[in-house]
Assembly symmetry: C2
Amino acid sequence: MTILNFSPLVQNISRRMELTQAEHGGLHALRLGLRLLPHKANILLANDRPTKCCMIIKGYAYRGKDVASGRQIMSFHMAGDLPDLQSLHLEAMDHDLMTIGETLVGFIPHLDILSLIAKHSRLGAYFWRETLIDAAIFREWIINVGGRSGYARISHLLCEQMARMMAKGLAKEFGAPLFLSQTNIAQATGLSPVHVNRIMGAMRNANLVNTKDGRLTILDWRGLVAAGDFDPAYLRLN
Amino acid sequence: MTILNFSPLVQNISRRMELTQAEHGGLHALRLGLRLLPHKANILLANDRPTKCCMIIKGYAYRGKDVASGRQIMSFHMAGDLPDLQSLHLEAMDHDLMTIGETLVGFIPHLDILSLIAKHSRLGAYFWRETLIDAAIFREWIINVGGRSGYARISHLLCEQMARMMAKGLAKEFGAPLFLSQTNIAQATGLSPVHVNRIMGAMRNANLVNTKDGRLTILDWRGLVAAGDFDPAYLRLN
DNA sequence: CGAAATCTTGAGTATAATCAAAAACGGTGG
DNA sequence: CCACCGTTTTTGATTATACTCAAGATTTCG
């Protein structure tokens, strides 16, 4: 028994497909190195050439890149995500991967994953599909920053994160706190932190969200879905 | 000999790897249906569940989705591109795929591609990698619409399309005309058509681009690269 | 308790959207 | 070949959304 059996990765795969004994054994054989990283730590930087894939086991991370106007966030990640699966086939990173809060990260050698995939093609298809869902989320983010107002952008972002947390069992109910700071939201939506703050004030006045003891929570799920024009189909949950 | 041998797909794969006799035979065996579509035709619509993958053979296409404020374009595609490879593993389309100008499209059954991949894992890795590069381009578009000024956004977009056309041998020199209308550019950058028009006027004054006889051409590649903060690494050309 | 990060508020400014209308272009049919 | 239609591009004037600068309040954490 490796730690992998208890990891959110196996849980996530099991949510999608019944694993055979052999497939389970293959996953079991993956070598997994662990690192506990503090808030705002680099997991990977642009131009790195990783030889391992990383998995978020506990905590959060984001993909981001510095631009002239500051930092753009391209995705958020939580327990069970493999936020650099693309490194299996793309040598150099084109962005950074950083933690949000204290985060436990597992590292699996590329070679282990590639040989697992070679033996169990269904798992290969699973991993490919995961990267395709990532791409679908990127497309939705292009729509979000390119086509929606500030108010709708933030609403949509909160909906997406909450929907993903619910699907992974990381949040039991809509009242569960989100992990995003206003700075995170600003960098993800292409808005200034000041403007995000003002919009979130308006969202609080509209009783869509709350920030009790510093934690962002959703009060009115349906209202937020409407405000953000959120349709979760692109996430392919279940 | 099927038409596939003359298609840009085989050319693209050959640019990346030396094909073995068997791999070439496998590609050769793919069934390919052809359709010649007019300007602004639907290749696929959101919620469609395609059983074939399509390949642009001649002409152009884009992925787009309607939003409250109009239409957002998420990517442009040209000869050799497989703009719905994701349909291999994601059942329903989450966006539309439409032509720009008269466009020749080839359709290959999913089953043919899946069995090809099963036999020739190197080709499977190639296709997976292509979808990962798509995802890298989506990420760059998030940066573009989220983090750059209107002037830089348009410059970056023009650089990307020109770089891709050059890499595919679809443009011999920087003077070659691009296929984008100002409306296309507006929908891809999240700007209004009017504002795009004004910015492009400024770009013409700066001698970055020209629009002789209605065709958009690049006059000053280095200037455009600087204006758009363009680094082609994410495209993984060569 | 103090330092650092995050959040909040105000005032002035800039970028880009909207509305409206005209000019140029591209293709079609007489 | 030319008149006509729809599309695309262009220009002007006004408005709105969001940014910047600046400073203070609050929270978090060592």
